[in-house]
């Protein structure tokens, strides 16, 4: 079942088509990666999902119904990239206030805050002020306030920025835990290694349009370049030549070969067997998301997205 469906969302600003006809579906309980270079329209898209902006066109379907910001806000937990806290307010009060704004009752909120503070070892913070916290600590607090009301849909925009590896892992584990309990997580970032590690499904946005949509494995296969690692027992005395492949890189007895069109990996192996070259290792090289990302985005010159005038409609 899909927790969230976007149908042809559009949002035009005076000088930019921030989001230009994006549709996507997110399955309940999945960890979804929203990727894109700076200024691709990720934040605008998220703001429409959270009801901060109204879309110019298109609709947001949350949990099977048309999204209504007034009543559905409690189903969503949003941690924006530009996030902050009241500096002079005590941490416990602050968490309580934010939870109450979401619609929790006071006693409910207190109970949940205690649970999370205990879980993340933050009990001693209750009476401290935010200005006493380090950046990583306030990040942790932000995370707690985002997930406190047990939202069905959790949206995290760059959740690990400023966290040390230990705390990043702690948060990562919590994200897995929440997903297992049935929450859906949208994860917006441009850190590809995290996406590869965490996400089930990704969408790549560029210039306000969706340019890629699929599961991580599927996308990697779609963009594979038919490259294989070949490791031989000895450095061969002959030059490797075959209609089935050509050598892309070589380093002593290690080769990276690229299979030519119309041939299969077994054709490569057959060649080595025929030449009586002993193969120690043979495996396919899948492109990293990072490479895919760079390839796709570079072509569009998105790094210098220019301003244009768009007629208001």
């Amino acid at each position: 079942m899909n927790i969230l469906e976007l149908h042809h969302l559009k949002k035009y600003f005076a000088t930019q088509k921030a989001v230009d006809d994006i549709s996507l579906e997110i399955e309940q309980g999945s960890i979804f990666g929203l990727l894109g270079p700076n200024g691709a329209g990720k934040t605008t898209l998220l703001r429409m999902i959270t009801g901060i902006f109204y879309p110019d066109e298109g609709e947001v379907i949350l949990d099977g119904k048309k999204f209504d910001p007034l009543t559905d806000i409690i189903k969503i937990g949003y941690m924006p990239e530009e996030r902050g806290l009241y500096k002079k307010m005590k941490i416990g009060d602050q968490a309580l206030y934010l939870a109450q704004l979401k619609g929790l009752s006071k006693s409910d909120a207190v109970q949940k805050i205690k649970y999370w503070f205990e879980k993340l070892e933050m009990q001693s913070w209750w009476n401290k002020k935010v200005e006493d916290l380090s950046k990583g600590m306030s990040q942790k607090l932000q995370f707690v306030t985002t997930v406190l009301h047990e939202p069905k849909l959790i949206i995290l925009d760059e959740p690990f920025s400023g966290l040390d590896p230990l705390n990043a892992n702690l948060i990562k584990d919590e994200i897995y835990g929440l997903a297992q309990k049935g929450s859906t997580i949208i994860f917006s970032t441009h850190r590809m290694e995290q996406v590869e590690e965490i996400c089930d499904h990704i969408v790549l946005v560029n210039l306000g349009r969706k340019i890629l949509d699929g599961s991580v494995q599927e996308i990697k296969h779609r963009f594979k370049e038919h490259k294989f690692n070949v490791q031989l027992s000895n450095v061969p005395s002959i030059i490797l030549e075959s209609p089935a492949f050509h050598v892309a890189e070589e380093k002593a007895n290690k080769y990276i070969v690229r299979i030519n069109d119309g041939y299969k990996s077994n054709d490569v192996l057959k060649y080595f067997i025929e030449k009586d070259l002993n193969v120690d290792g043979f495996n396919e090289i899948l492109p990293s998301l990072n490479d895919i990302f760079i390839n796709l985005v570079e072509d569009t010159k998105a790094t210098t997205r220019s301003f244009q005038n768009i007629e208001a409609n």
């Binding site: 949003y78 924006p80 902050g84 206030y97 109450q100 704004l101």
Partner: protein, 437 residues
């Protein structure tokens, strides 16, 4: 609605629980009165003591000159200027006065007073008063007029002003109305500035600390803005009520603590404006024949206080949402808001004198000025000076006005609060207001 209340509560509590709130609310009036009392105390109770030798060659005073605890007069005979100077150097006297032998009580008398050091303003006044009073008495004696005769000669005619409708139009009432109108208009002017700026700073703080987006993912931007405006408004109301209570109780307490102070203030000739106002108050007497409708004025004051605050604070919020860290940006955007407030106070000073002039009527109807100007007119009486239809129109327009400004500010606010980067112009903000979301 519930969320607005929640936000307003936080805004209210965080401000009221601050130490600075207690400090400004309670200490400020105390400090103010402390200074006031101290200035008066020191200027009245100068510990300068003067014993003045009076060489009354012509015997105009007939050896009668009354002194008090600080000033005393000693009549000396047969001493010339030289010996008196020596006496002063020996600190026997602090000054001397010489009345030439040819002085006549009924003529203008030249009295020159020579003192050790320069005489303070208060003492100088007292010495002059005492000498003049003694001279007056001696003159009356010389002309054979009794004090009772003088009193009856000075008796004033009882002159009454009234309007065609038969309303009492006494000068006392005019003075009273003037004072009430001026003070209440001025108070509202101060309210608009203090609390409007407080709203603006609050919005800026939220924007700079980047909490705005966190909050607007839970509540509508309009709710956030209204919560802030109402919360700070409540702070203002509480602060004002405390101030009014403190000021009035101090006003009553001050004469009790320094009884001689009040007495001296009256017989000293240092009657400044404040005391004159106090005198008008006393003379006209709230309980007396003056027909000023206090409950109506108080009710109107609260209405215009709240209406004016709502009208302007939402505009201040809108400026706060548009600017970034730089307070100078705020200054230039604030100009179009502060201008009408200042115009309002200028019109108010005119309206308090001429409550029926065209400018005053316009000012009291136009919502940007009416909170300040109408108070000055209402004090002169509702029904005759301010027709009821004008009061109702003014109130109606003010309500329409603040609904419009909060709507406008709400639109600008929701865009501005999430917009970082360069400061927008009013033109751009105007566009934000009419953009579709």
């Amino acid at each position: 609605m519930n969320k607005i209340a929640l936000i307003a509560r936080r805004e209210f509590l965080t401000r009221v629980q601050k130490k600075t709130f207690l400090l400004t609310t309670i200490l400020l009036p105390l400090l103010f009165f402390g200074f006031y009392a101290m200035i008066i105390y020191f200027s009245v109770n100068s510990d300068e003591k003067y014993n003045i030798a009076v060489a009354d060659e012509a015997n105009v005073f007939n050896n009668k000159l009354e002194g008090d605890e600080n000033i005393s007069f000693s009549f000396v005979k047969g001493e010339d200027e030289q010996s008196l100077k020596q006496d002063i150097e020996k600190d026997k006297y602090q000054g001397y006065a010489i009345i030439p032998a040819n002085a006549n009580i009924l003529d203008k008398i030249n009295i020159s007073i020579v003192t050790q050091k320069s005489v303070g303003l208060m003492s100088r006044g007292k010495i002059e008063d005492k000498l003049n009073a003694a001279l007056e008495q001696q003159r009356l004696l010389a002309l054979n007029i009794s004090p009772a005769q003088l009193d009856s000669a000075k008796k004033e005619g009882n002159i009454q002003f009234s309007t065609v409708e038969g309303k009492n139009d006494s000068g006392e009432e005019i003075g009273m109305s003037y004072a009430i109108g001026y003070v209440s208009g001025f108070l509202i002017y101060i309210v608009l500035f203090i609390y409007g700026a407080m709203v603006m700073r609050g919005v800026m703080e939220e924007k700079v600390s980047r909490i705005a987006e966190v909050i607007v993912s839970s509540v509508k931007p309009f709710q956030l803005m209204m919560g802030k405006i109402l919360g700070i408004g409540a702070v203002g109301l509480v602060q004002f009520i405390i101030w009014i209570i403190l000021m009035t109780s101090l006003n009553f307490l001050l004469p009790l603590i320094f009884p001689q102070l009040a007495a001296q203030m009256h017989d000293s000739n240092m009657q400044n404006g404040a005391m004159q106002a106090a005198d008008t108050l006393k003379n006209s007497g709230l309980i007396g024949n003056v027909n000023i409708n206090m409950p109506l004025i108080l009710g109107c004051f609260i209405f215009y206080f709240i209406g004016g605050y709502l009208l302007y604070s939402s505009l201040f919020a809108c400026v706060g949402s548009a600017v970034n860290e730089d307070p100078q940006d705020a200054q230039s955007l604030m100009l179009p808001i502060t201008m009408p407030i200042i115009f309002g106070i200028v019109i108010m000073t005119k309206a308090v004198n001429e409550p029926t002039s065209g400018l005053a009527v316009f000012g009291s109807l136009f919502p940007l000025f009416s909170p300040i100007v109408m108070m000055a007119r209402i004090a002169h009486g509702v029904g005759d000076v301010v027709p009821v239809w004008q009061l109702l129109t003014s109130m109606g327009l003010l309500i329409v006005g603040f609904i419009f400004t909060t709507w406008f500010a709400g639109k600008v606010y929701r865009t501005g609060i999430l917009m970082y980067g360069k400061k927008p112009s009013w033109k751009e903000m105007w566009k934000w207001a009419f953009r579709r979301y």
